[in-house]
Structures are given as C-alpha cells and as structure tokens.
Amino acid sequence: MVETILTTSMGIMLVSIILSIIRFVKGPCYTDRVIAFDVMTISSLAIIAGVAYLSGRVIYLDVAMVYGILSFLGVLVVARYMEKGL
C-alpha cells in the first residue's frame, strides 16, 4: 500500500523533472534556465528521499543533505554573474 503510493508519487516527481527540462531547452533568457535548474535540483532532492525509503538506508539522506545545503550556491553564482557582481 505505502510502497504503491510512494512509487506513484516518485513517478509524478519524474514528470515534473521532465517538464522543467522542457523549460530548460526552450527558455528564452538565462533566468528561465536557471530557475529550471533550481526546480530540477529540488525535485531530485525529493526523489533521493524516496529512493532512501525504498532502499531502507538512512545514509542516503546524507547525499540529499549535501544537495539541500549546497544547491543554492549554483543559482547564486549565476545570478551574481548576471548582475556583474562577481
């Protein structure tokens, strides 16, 4: 029961990753691509948590923590580059 629902929700997260990939390919300006990158990172966080549950290993969450703490640095550096702040 629980695993079926979790599998469904991980499928929905995958669909969301695919939609943001479409935005990345289309995106007219840099901001669109960067925001698509952000959404992809966050969806991957949720997917990693789901994989950690399905494998039954708490240690996989450490990887998710590295993402959660460091992922916004990439967005930050692109934004500062765009506004000539580096």
Binding site: R57, V58, I59, Y60
Partner: protein
Amino acid sequence: MEQIGLSHIAITTGILLILTGLWGILTQKNIIKMIIGFSLFDTGIHIVMVGVGYVEGKTAPILDEAVQLKEAARQIVDPLPQAMVLTAIVIGIGITALMLAYALRLYQKNKTLDIQKFNDLKW
C-alpha cells in the same frame, strides 16, 4: 524489462556520454567549450566504472544496522571501483581548474578564445 539490468542502463549512458564529450572536444573551436567537453568525458568514464562495479540487487558497502556483519559479502556491491572513482573525481576538478587557468592566461595573452588563432607553434 526484466533482462535489462541497472548496470546496462548506466554503462550505455556512460559510453554515449563519453562519445558526446569526445565529439565536443574534437569539433568545438572555443577553448572553454573544449574544457566542458572534457568534463563530460570525465563524468562518462566515472559512470561506466561505477556501473561495472554494480551487482544486481545489492546495497551500498557501508555496514550499519541495515547490513549484517556476517552476511556482508552477499549483500554489498564492489567497493573498489567506488574508491577509484572518488579519487578520480577529485583529481578531475584539479585538472579542470588547471586547464581553465591556462585558458585564462592564453586569453590574456592572445585576446581570443578561438583555438585556430593560436599559431605560435606553427611554422
């Protein structure tokens, strides 16, 4: 779906990524694009190596309450390729940074990033 293993998917992806990176290195004229191609090549090799070490249906080589100590050899994947790849990734960023520093220096000297304009060694 049953006969396709996870490692088949990983190794196919890795090989195609290697070829894409090599294509990028060979066809692009901008130095920075060539360095990006090199880093793609690097990632592809890492994926292939980890995929070769994967054993179907087994878990990570870290022993905690989810893996029994006695049964460890039947429950974990190969730790050796993972250690190698870990080393390789760290060296990879060093190489990438070094290449970027060279590219920056070349730009400061020649005022261009086009690889075909660098004809100092031609005669």
